[in-house]
C-alpha cells in the first residue's frame, strides 16, 4: 500500500481552476447513460478538447505514450492484420479513422491497408460480436490487432445505477446480460429472455402461455411481507419503469443490481434489487443506415394436461348420472392452432453530432385457450443531438404502445377438470344454445369463455428528455425530465344467455373501467471524473423527484334491452333506473424526493473503491419519519494484478470484492399513515338513508421505510487463457423494520390492523455464474454458461417491544371445505413454510390417520390445532440453469436447461380432485390408482406435498447464419432459427408442470386447483440486417 501514497498525483494549475469552477458553480454533476463515466480522462494540455467519440466509445486501449497532441502527421498509409485471440484472421472487420467516414474492411485473410488523412489521430477497429478497439496512430506503420470476444471482455461496459463502469471496475454484485445472450423465441415479457440467466434472479409466471399474463421478478428471495418483493425496474435511466412497455428486440442490455452496495443508490426502492434495462441506440459516425428486421411466428401445443376420468370411466365409477353426452371439457377449451406473429423493424444511423434509432413492432398472439388473445403495436424512437461544439447535448426517448387484450377465465380449467364428462356442451333441446347447468361452483366453461366478453385496451406513452451540458471534458451536468403514462380501458360484458344472467334473473351485465397512471420524473445529475497517473476518481451527485398519480372510473349496469349493445351502451341497463347500477371513481398520488452522491476511486486498476449515499423521502411515510438515509460502500482488489499473481499461468483476472449497503422498501399502499375518514354502508338518519363515515385506518405518524442491510462478498475470475470466467457471490440480507399490517390493540383502537415497522427477515445465499469456452475453433465452438443460486429466507422476528406476534398464517385453502391456512410464517422458520397435519397412513376403512402432537397415530377427524406441524417449504433452495451453445460453421445450436431443487409443492389438484370421497364431480385417475385406498375426506396434510424438484430442457434453438455481404448489395447478415420452448421435464412431481407453479412472493409452491395449461411452443424466426 505504500505505493499508493507515494504516487499521489501532483495538482496543477488547471486542476485548481477546475476545483474553483466546480465550487463556484455550486451546480453539481452527473452521469451520462453509458459513456462519459468510463471515459473521462484528464488531459493536462487540452482541457477544452471536444469529445468527438460520443456514443461509439466502448473502451479504450491506451498506448504507452499519451502525449500525441499537436504532432502533425503527413498523409501516409498504414497496414496490418486483424485477428481474434486464437490468432485466426477476422475477415470483414471495419477500420475507420475516428471522426471521419474514411475506412476500409479487412480481407478474407484479415489484412487491411488504409490511407490516413493528415490529421488522423486515432483509428477504430470494429467487428460484430467483438469489442471495438481504438488505437492512436502515432508514427507506426503496421498494426497487428487482436480483437477480443465481447462477452469475456473485462473492459465491457456495464450499466449501473446512474452510470456505467467497466466490468473490471465493479465492486458489487451486478450481472449484466446483453442482447446477444437473450433467449430467442416467443416471450410474453421482456424479462423472459433472461429467465435463468442471472444467478439469484427468479423469473416466475403461473401462466406463461397466456399472452396477457405478467411475470413476477424476485432477486435473492422474498424478504418483505407487505412492502413488495419485486425489484425496481429502471428503463433508460427512468426509475419505476413498466416492463410491458418494452419489447425484447429493443433491449441492448439488462443489468441486475443484486446487492445493496450497488442498489442503495436507489434508496427507498433498492432493497429488492434493481433491474436496469437499456435500450438500443443509434450509432454516431455510422457508415450507413442500419436496418434490422427481426420477426418470428410461433405456435404452441398443450404439453401436459391433468389426467381425469373419461366419460366411460366416470360412469363406470358411478361418479354421477349419465347426462347423455360425451364431452372432453379440457379439449373444448383449447385452441387448436394458436398463432403468435411478431414483426419488428428498426432503423438507426448517425452523423458526427446526431444519432437516432427508430423501431416499430407488431404482435398478435392467441392464447392456448379459446378466449384469450393479445394484439399490440408500438414505436420507439431514440435520438441524440449535439450542439455548441459538443458542449450541449439533447438526448431523448419516446415510446408509444397500444394493446388490445382479451382475457380468459382460469377457473374454466378448474371446471374442465371437475365437470361431469357426460354433460353436453350444447343444450340438447336447442343446439343453438349452450347447456347451462345449475349448482355450486358448476358452470359450462365453454359457454363462459365464448359468451362473456372480457378485455381491455391499453395505451402507453413514455417519453424522456435529457439536457446535458459538457462543462469540461471531464465534467458534465444533465437534467432529465420523463413522463410515463398508461391508460387502461376495461370492457366486460356477460350477455342475457349466460348462466350468470339466468341464475340472477337478469338480462346481461356490462362493466366499464377506465384507469390511468401518470408517473413524472425530474432528475438533475452531475458527473465529474479525474485521472491522474494511476488514480482514477469519479464523482456523481444528483437530485431526484418523482410523483405517481393514478385515477380511475368504474361503472356497472345490468338488464339490457339487447345483447347487441354489449358494453357500449351502459346507460341502457334497467338497473340504473332502479337505483341499483354501481359506479365509483378514485384518485391517489405519492411522491419521492431524494439527493444522492457516489464516489468511485481506483488505484492502478488494482484497488477499487466505491461509496454512495442517498437521502430520500416518500410521501407514504409518516410525518415523523419522512426521510431516510441509505449508505453503501464496497471495495475490490484485483489480485491478478499483484506481483505474486502476474506470473500465474492460468489466471487472467481475479478480483475479490466486498460490499455493504442499506437499501429501503416503500412498496406499501398510499394513505396508510395519516388519519382519514372513509364511507362505509348506509344507515337511516332521521328518516333518510345516509352513507356513514368513520375512521378508515389506525393512523401511524411513525411509519417509515423498511430497510435491508446487505453484506456481499464476491470473487470475479477469468482463467485459463480467458476460457473460463465467472463470479461467485456470498450474501446476507437482513430486512429490518418490516412494514406490516399488524394486529392492532382493539380496544382502544378502532381498526384491527395498523401499519407498523416490526420484524426482521434474513436471506442468505450463494450464487455462481460460470462461462466456459469448452471448444473454440474456427469452424466449431462450444460454450457453456452455468448459473446456480442457493438462497434461504428466514423470519428472524415478527415482534418488537410494542407489537408481538409469534406467527401469521397465510393462504386460506379454497372451498369446498375451506380446510384452513396453508402457510405459517413463524419466527425462526423459513418463509413459505407449509403448516398442516402429518400423514400417518390409513386405517382399514381407508380413513386418514395422522400423527398427533405426541406422535401417536390418530384418526384425522380427531385432529386438533395442536397436531399441526411444519411439514414442508415451497421455495426452491437451489435454482440451476445451464446454457449450451454449439456453433458449427454457419449453424448454432442452443440447449438451455434449468431446474429448481429442494422444495415442496402443495398439489391442490390431488387434494381436491384426487380422492374418491369427493362426490359427484369428475376426478383425476389418481383417485382410483395411487389414492385408491383413501376413502375419507381430504385433509390438509403432507400427503399432498410433493417434491417439486425438476430439470427441464427449456429451450432448444437451432440457428443458421449467413453472411450476405459478399452476396448482396443490401443485406449484410441473415439469421434463421427454429426454437422449441419447454421441450421436456424430468421430475417426480405428479402435477402439471412444476416450473409453472409460482415460487416467488409469500405464497410459493402451491399448484392451483385449476391451472392454466402448460404448453410447448415452436418458433420460427428470421433476423436480417441491412
Amino acid at each position: 500500500m505504500s505505493r499508493f501514497f507515494k504516487k499521489k498525483g501532483v495538482p496543477t494549475g488547471k486542476f485548481r481552476l477546475q476545483l474553483f469552477f466546480i465550487l463556484s458553480l455550486t451546480l453539481v454533476f452527473l452521469f451520462p447513460p453509458k459513456h462519459g463515466l468510463a471515459n473521462g480522462r484528464f488531459k493536462s494540455n487540452n482541457v477544452f478538447a471536444s469529445d468527438q467519440n460520443g456514443f461509439s466509445v466502448k473502451d479504450t486501449i491506451k498506448p504507452q505514450t499519451i502525449d500525441v497532441a499537436g504532432e502533425q502527421q503527413s498523409s501516409r498509409s498504414i497496414s496490418g492484420t486483424v485477428k481474434d485471440n486464437k490468432g485466426i484472421p477476422i475477415p470483414g472487420a471495419t477500420i475507420i479513422v475516428k471522426g471521419t467516414t474514411i475506412g476500409v474492411t479487412t480481407s478474407l485473410d484479415g489484412i487491411f491497408t488504409l490511407k490516413l488523412p493528415a490529421n488522423a489521430k486515432t483509428i477504430v477497429f470494429t467487428f460484430v460480436g467483438m469489442k471495438s478497439q481504438e488505437i492512436e496512430v502515432g508514427t507506426k506503420a503496421t498494426f497487428p490487432v487482436v480483437l477480443l470476444d465481447e462477452t469475456l471482455g473485462l473492459d465491457e461496459v456495464v450499466v449501473i445505477g446512474y452510470g456505467s463502469l467497466q466490468k473490471k471496475e465493479l465492486t458489487s454484485s451486478i450481472t449484466s446480460v446483453s442482447s446477444k445472450d437473450f433467449l430467442e423465441g416467443s416471450a410474453n415479457n421482456a424479462m423472459q429472455v433472461i429467465n435463468g440467466k442471472v444467478a439469484g434472479l427468479s423469473v416466475s409466471s403461473s401462466a406463461p402461455s397466456d399472452p396477457n399474463a405478467g411475470v413476477s421478478l424476485q432477486i435473492r428471495g422474498a424478504s418483505s411481507i407487505k412492502a413488495g418483493t419485486g425489484p425496481l425496474v429502471v428503463i433508460d435511466g427512468v426509475p419505476g419503469g413498466d416492463l410491458s412497455t418494452i419489447v425484447q428486440q429493443d433491449i441492448e442490455s439488462i443489468s441486475v443490481l443484486k446487492d445493496a452496495s450497488s442498489a442503495a443508490i436507489y434508496g427507498t426502492r433498492g432493497a429488492n434489487g434493481v433491474i436496469i434495462v437499456t435500450t438500443k441506440k443509434g450509432t454516431r459516425n455510422a457508415d450507413k443506415v442500419n436496418v434490422v428486421y427481426d420477426s418470428y411466428v410461433s405456435t404452441m401445443t398443450v404439453a401436459r394436461k391433468p389426467e381425469i376420468l373419461s366419460a366411460a370411466e366416470f360412469l363406470e365409477k358411478k361418479r354421477d348420472v349419465d347426462l347423455g353426452a360425451r364431452t372432453d371439457w379440457y379439449s373444448e377449451l383449447i385452441r387448436k392452432t394458436p398463432i403468435e406473429n411478431n414483426q419488428f423493424l428498426s432503423v438507426s444511423s448517425g452523423t458526427q453530432n446526431t444519432s437516432y434509432r427508430a423501431s416499430v413492432n407488431y404482435r398478435k398472439a392467441d392464447g392456448i385457450d379459446i378466449a384469450s388473445g393479445r394484439e399490440e403495436y408500438g414505436v420507439r424512437l431514440n435520438f441524440s443531438q449535439k450542439a455548441l461544439d459538443g458542449k450541449f447535448e439533447l438526448i431523448g426517448n419516446v415510446a408509444n404502445r397500444y394493446t388490445k387484450e382479451k382475457y380468459t377465465d382460469y377457473g374454466a380449467f378448474n371446471q374442465a377438470m371437475q365437470l361431469n364428462p357426460t354433460m353436453p356442451v350444447y343444450d340438447p333441446a336447442d343446439p343453438n344454445k349452450y347447456f347451462l347447468p345449475y349448482g355450486y361452483d358448476t358452470y359450462n366453461p365453454v359457454a363462459k369463455l365464448k359468451l362473456d366478453q372480457n378485455g381491455a385496451e391499453r395505451k402507453f406513452l413514455n417519453a424522456d428528455l435529457t439536457f446535458k451540458f459538457n462543462i469540461l471534458d471531464n465534467l458534465d451536468t444533465q437534467v432529465m425530465i420523463a413522463q410515463q403514462t398508461t391508460d387502461k380501458d376495461d370492457n366486460i360484458f356477460s350477455p342475457s344467455t349466460s348462466a350468470e344472467s339466468r341464475d340472477n334473473n337478469r338480462r346481461g351485465r356490462a362493466e366499464r373501467r377506465y384507469e390511468k397512471w401518470n408517473d413524472r420524473t425530474f432528475e438533475w445529475t452531475t458527473n465529474y471524473s479525474l485521472d491522474i497517473d494511476a488514480h482514477k476518481l469519479k464523482l456523481l451527485a444528483g437530485y431526484s423527484y418523482q410523483d405517481f398519480t393514478n385515477s380511475g372510473f368504474w361503472s356497472q349496469n345490468f338488464d339490457f334491452p339487447s345483447d347487441a349493445l354489449t358494453y357500449n351502451a351502459l346507460g341502457e341497463g334497467l338497473y340504473l333506473k332502479q337505483g341499483k347500477a354501481d359506479m365509483s371513481s378514485w384518485k391517489g398520488k405519492n411522491q419521492l424526493a431524494a439527493v444522492f452522491g457516489r464516489v468511485n476511486y481506483s488505484f492502478d486498476d488494482i484497488y477499487l473503491f466505491s461509496a454512495s449515499l442517498r437521502y430520500e423521502g416518500s410521501s407514504k411515510f409518516g410525518t415523523n419519519n419522512k426521510y431516510g438515509l441509505f449508505p453503501a460502500v464496497s471495495a475490490g482488489w484485483r489480485l491478478s494484478k499483484m506481483e505474486f499473481m502476474k506470473s500465474s499461468a492460468f489466471v487472467n483476472d481475479l478480483k475479490l470484492r466486498a460490499g455493504f449497503g442499506v437499501a429501503g422498501r416503500e412498496g406499501f399502499d398510499r394513505y396508510t399513515s395519516p388519519a382519514t375518514y372513509s364511507g362505509a354502508g348506509r344507515y337511516l338518519a332521521e328518516g333518510a338513508w345516509l352513507k356513514v363515515f368513520g375512521p378508515a385506518n389506525n393512523p401511524n405518524p411513525d411509519l417509515k421505510w423498511e430497510k435491508a442491510i446487505n453484506y456481499n462478498v464476491g470473487l470475479d475470475f477469468t482463467l485459463f487463457n480467458s476460457r473460463l470466467s465467472g463470479a461467485l457471490d456470498i450474501y446476507q440480507r437482513m430486512s429490518k423494520d418490516m412494514i406490516y399490517n399488524y394486529d392492532a390493540p382493539v380496544p382502544p383502537m378502532i381498526q384491527d390492523q395498523i401499519w407498523v415497522n416490526v420484524g426482521t427477515t434474513q436471506n442468505r445465499g450463494i450464487e455462481l455464474n460460470l462461462d466456459y469456452q469448452v471448444i473454440k475453433k474456427e469452424d466449431f465452438s462450444y460454450d457453456i454458461n452455468m448459473v446456480g443460486s442457493y438462497n434461504k429466507s428466514i423470519i428472524k422476528s415478527l415482534s418488537n417491544d410494542r407489537y408481538n406476534r409469534p406467527f401469521f398464517d397465510d393462504y386460506g385453502l379454497p372451498s369446498p371445505g375451506n380446510p384452513g391456512n396453508a402457510y405459517r410464517n413463524m419466527e425462526g422458520h423459513e418463509l413459505g413454510s407449509f403448516y398442516g397435519l402429518r400423514y400417518a397412513g390409513l386405517d382399514d376403512q381407508g380413513r386418514f390417520l395422522i400423527y398427533n402432537k405426541a406422535g401417536e397415530k390418530i384418526l384425522s377427524t380427531l385432529k386438533t390445532e395442536e397436531d399441526k406441524a411444519f411439514i414442508g417449504n415451497g421455495i426452491p433452495k437451489l435454482q440451476l440453469s445451464m446454457n449450451n451453445i454449439i456453433r458449427y460453421k454457419n449453424f448454432d445450436l442452443t440447449l438451455y436447461f434449468r431446474g429448481y431443487f429442494k422444495y415442496d409443492i402443495l398439489n391442490l389438484k390431488q387434494m381436491y380432485y384426487g380422492l374418491q370421497s369427493v362426490s359427484n364431480v369428475n376426478l383425476l385417475k389418481d383417485a382410483f390408482t395411487r389414492n385408491a385406498a383413501i376413502k375419507s375426506e381430504k385433509e390438509f396434510s403432507d400427503y399432498f406435498l410433493e417434491k417439486g424438484d425438476f430439470l427441464k430442457l427449456d429451450v432448444v434453438n437451432l440457428g443458421y447464419n449467413l453472411d450476405m455481404k459478399e452476396k448482396s448489395k443490401y443485406i449484410s447478415n441473415l439469421r434463421l432459427y427454429f426454437a422449441v420452448k419447454n421441450v421436456f421435464t424430468i421430475t417426480n412431481y405428479t402435477g402439471l408442470d412444476p416450473a409453472q407453479v409460482q415460487i416467488n412472493g409469500l405464497q410459493p409452491g402451491i399448484e392451483d386447483k385449476g391451472s392454466y395449461p402448460t404448453v410447448r411452443s415452436f418458433t420460427l424466426g428470421l433476423k436480417a440486417s441491412f
Binding site: 449515499l613 382519514t676 354502508g681 337511516l684 328518516g687 382502544p748 384491527d752 371445505g817 359427484n920
Partner: protein
C-alpha cells in the same frame, strides 16, 4: 488536496439535501382527512351513525354465530365437500374453541371496534360548535348520550362473551381489564345517566336509533343475567325496569297481535319494535338472514336471486338416523314447536307481502309449480328434500354413514331451514324490506315473566307469556295450549324463550342463565367444563395489549 476536494463536493451535496426536502405530505383526493371531515349536519350524522352501521354488521355475523352455533338450536353442519371450514363449526358446537378461534377474535374486535367508533365520534362531536351547523346544543347532548348508550350496548355484549373486559373511553389509551363488578356498575351508571336525555318512542325520526326504550332494554338484559356477570341475581330490579317499560315510562309500545308482525316487510311499524336495524333494498342489506341458511337452488323455490346462498346453517335435528325422535331435554328445536303452532307451517309466500310459516323443510318445488327443485351434490339431479336429520344417507349402508349423526356428517339437504324474516321474489315490492329485530317488547314481557317465576309468582308468569303466545295459534286451538301456572317450569320457560326468540342471538345467554350451557347436553354436544361459560380472551388481543390478562376461560 484530493481529500479537500471530496469534502467540498460532499458539502455541496449537503447543501442540496437541506434545500431539497420537498413537501412530502400526502395529498388526499378520494378520501377525507380527519381534520377537514366535519363540514355540515350530514357529516355529523354520518359520523354518529358509523357505530350503528357497524353494530348491524356485528350482529349479523360473529355475534350471531357465537350466540347461536354454540347453543342447542342451530348448527352449521359439514355437507360433504362443503362446510368443514377448518373445523370451526365443530369447535363452536362442541365448545372446543381455543383462544385462536377466528370467530371469537372477531367477537372481541367487532365489539370493541363499535365502541371505538362511538368513542371517536363522541370526541369529535364534543369539540364541534353545533350552532355553526344549524343545530342546537341540546341536540349535541342527545347525540353524546346516544353514543354513550350504544357504547353500553356493546359493552354488555362483550361482558356477556368474555366476562372480564376493559372499559375504554377513548381511542388512544391501552387499558387493563376491569372486574365484572366494575363493568356491571359502569354500564348501569352510563344507562342511568343518559336514559332521560334520549328521545322517547314513538318518534319516527329516531327509527333505528337509541331511544329511552332501547336504553331500558339494555338495563333489563344487564339485570336479568347479572348472576352470570357478578354472581348475584337482580330479579326485582329487572322486574321493575320491565314493568316501567310495559307501563310506558320509556315510550309507547305494545305486543304485536300477530306472530309475523315483528318480522314481515313492515315490521318497523310493529307496535312491539323497540330497536330494529333498518333494512331496505339497495340501502342496508339483511342478507345474513338468508345467505348462510339456504341451498344453492333455493332460489328456484323462492324466486329470489339477489343474494347468494352458502347452504350452511340449519336447525339441529329432532330425529335420529332411524327417524325416531330424540328425547333429550335440550336441543331438537323443531320438535319443540307444537304442531298446531302457526309458525311451524312450511314457509309459503302468498303474495302482497302475506306469508305463512317460518321454516323451510320437506320437498322443495320451483316457485308456483309442482316441479321439484333438484339437488346439486349428494342428491344431484334428484329432488331436494330438507330433512330434520343429520347423516350420510346418500352413502347408506356403508361409507361415512357409519360415522353416525355428527356436525361433520351432513348432506346438502340436512336440516330444517329457518326463515323468520320472509324472502320475497325478485321485484316484489316487499323485497328485502324486513328490518332486523334487535329489541322488541316481547323480550320485556318474557323477561318480566321469568323474574316473576324466579320470585315465585308462576301465575303472573303464565299470564305474561300467554299474552304473547296467543298470537301463535288459531283461536280454536288456544284453550288447550294456554299456559296454566303449574305448567311453568324452568325447562318450559327455557323452551319458550327458545321458541319465541329462535335465531335472535340470545340462546347462549339464556342457556347460561338456566345453568345449561356447559353442563347441558344435546345432539352432538357433550357436557363441557364450566369455564366454557365465557369465551377466552383472544390471543390476538393478549398479544397486542400487554395489560390484558388471560381469564379462567383461557385455560
Amino acid at each position: 488536496m484530493k481529500r479537500f476536494k471530496v469534502k467540498s463536493i460532499l458539502s455541496v451535496l449537503l447543501v442540496f439535501m437541506l434545500a431539497s426536502c420537498a413537501n412530502l405530505d400526502e395529498e388526499l383526493f378520494d378520501r377525507i382527512g380527519k381534520e377537514t371531515y366535519y363540514q355540515n349536519k350530514n357529516a355529523i350524522l354520518a359520523s354518529l351513525l358509523r357505530t350503528y352501521e357497524h353494530g348491524h354488521w356485528y350482529s349479523t355475523s360473529e355475534r350471531w354465530y357465537a350466540q347461536e352455533l354454540t347453543g342447542d338450536q342451530f348448527v352449521w353442519t359439514q355437507k360433504g365437500r362443503h362446510g368443514y371450514d377448518g373445523g370451526q363449526w365443530v369447535r363452536l358446537h362442541n365448545h372446543t374453541w381455543t383462544a385462536e378461534e377466528a370467530t371469537l377474535a372477531s367477537c372481541w374486535n367487532g365489539g370493541f371496534t363499535g365502541i371505538g367508533y362511538a368513542n371517536n365520534s363522541m370526541a369529535d362531536l364534543e369539540t364541534l360548535d353545533y350552532t355553526k351547523f344549524g343545530m342546537t346544543e341540546a341536540e349535541k347532548q342527545t347525540h353524546i348520550s346516544e353514543l354513550k348508550t350504544i357504547r353500553s350496548w356493546y359493552q354488555l355484549m362483550l361482558l356477556d362473551f368474555f366476562g372480564t373486559i376493559p372499559i375504554v373511553e377513548n381511542i388512544t389509551d391501552l387499558k387493563p381489564q376491569s372486574t365484572p363488578q366494575e363493568n356491571f356498575a359502569w354500564i348501569e351508571k352510563e344507562i342511568k345517566e343518559n336514559i332521560s336525555k334520549l328521545p322517547k318512542a314513538p318518534i319516527a325520526k329516531y327509527e333505528g336509533r337509541m331511544t329511552q326504550g332501547a336504553a331500558a332494554t339494555i338495563l333489563v338484559r344487564l339485570y336479568l343475567n347479572s348472576q352470570a356477570y357478578i354472581g348475584a341475581t337482580k330479579w326485582a330490579e329487572c322486574a321493575q325496569v320491565c314493568q316501567d317499560i310495559l307501563d310506558g315510562k320509556y315510550g309507547t309500545y305494545s305486543v304485536d297481535p300477530t306472530w309475523y308482525g315483528p318480522f314481515n316487510a313492515q315490521n318497523d311499524k310493529s307496535p312491539e319494535a323497540i330497536w330494529y336495524f333498518p333494512h331496505a333494498k339497495n340501502q342496508l342489506d339483511g342478507n345474513f338472514y338468508y345467505a348462510p341458511f339456504f341451498h344453492y337452488n333455493s332460489r328456484q323455490a323462492t324466486g329470489f336471486t339477489q343474494w347468494g346462498e352458502w347452504n350452511g346453517i340449519g336447525l339441529q335435528p329432532s330425529l335420529d338416523l332411524d327417524g325416531k325422535p330424540y328425547t333429550s331435554a335440550l336441543g331438537r328445536p323443531f320438535a319443540k314447536f307444537n304442531d298446531k303452532d302457526l309458525r311451524k307451517k312450511p314457509y309459503n309466500y302468498l303474495g302482497n307481502g302475506k306469508y305463512e310459516g317460518m321454516f323451510v323443510y320437506g320437498p322443495q318445488y320451483k316457485r308456483g309449480t309442482t316441479e321439484p327443485v333438484l339437488g346439486t351434490e349428494e342428491y344431484n339431479g334428484k329432488p331436494l328434500v330438507f330433512v330434520d336429520q343429520v347423516g350420510r344417507f346418500s352413502e347408506k349402508p356403508a361409507g361415512r354413514w357409519l360415522e353416525g349423526s355428527k356436525v361433520i356428517t351432513g348432506e346438502e339437504n340436512t336440516g330444517v331451514r329457518w326463515m323468520k324474516y320472509p324472502i320475497f321474489p325478485d321485484y316484489d315490492p316487499n323485497e328485502m324490506e324486513p328490518d332486523g329485530a334487535e329489541m322488541r317488547l316481547s323480550e320485556i314481557v318474557y323477561s318480566l315473566a321469568e323474574c316473576k317465576f324466579r320470585l315465585g309468582d308462576k301465575a303472573t308468569a303464565a299470564t305474561l307469556l300467554n299474552s304473547v303466545r296467543v298470537r301463535n295459534f288459531a283461536p280454536e286451538d288456544w284453550a288447550s295450549i294456554a299456559y296454566t301456572a303449574d305448567q311453568i317450569t324452568e325447562q318450559e320457560l327455557l323452551d319458550e324463550w327458545g321458541r319465541e326468540f329462535l335465531g335472535e342471538r340470545r340462546r347462549r345467554t339464556d342457556l347460561i342463565r338456566f345453568g345449561k350451557f356447559t353442563a347441558g347436553t344435546w345432539w352432538d354436544k357433550q357436557a363441557t367444563p364450566a369455564n366454557k361459560k365465557f369465551f377466552p380472551i383472544p390471543n390476538k388481543a393478549l398479544n397486542t395489549n400487554p395489560l390484558l390478562k388471560p381469564t379462567e376461560a383461557n385455560n
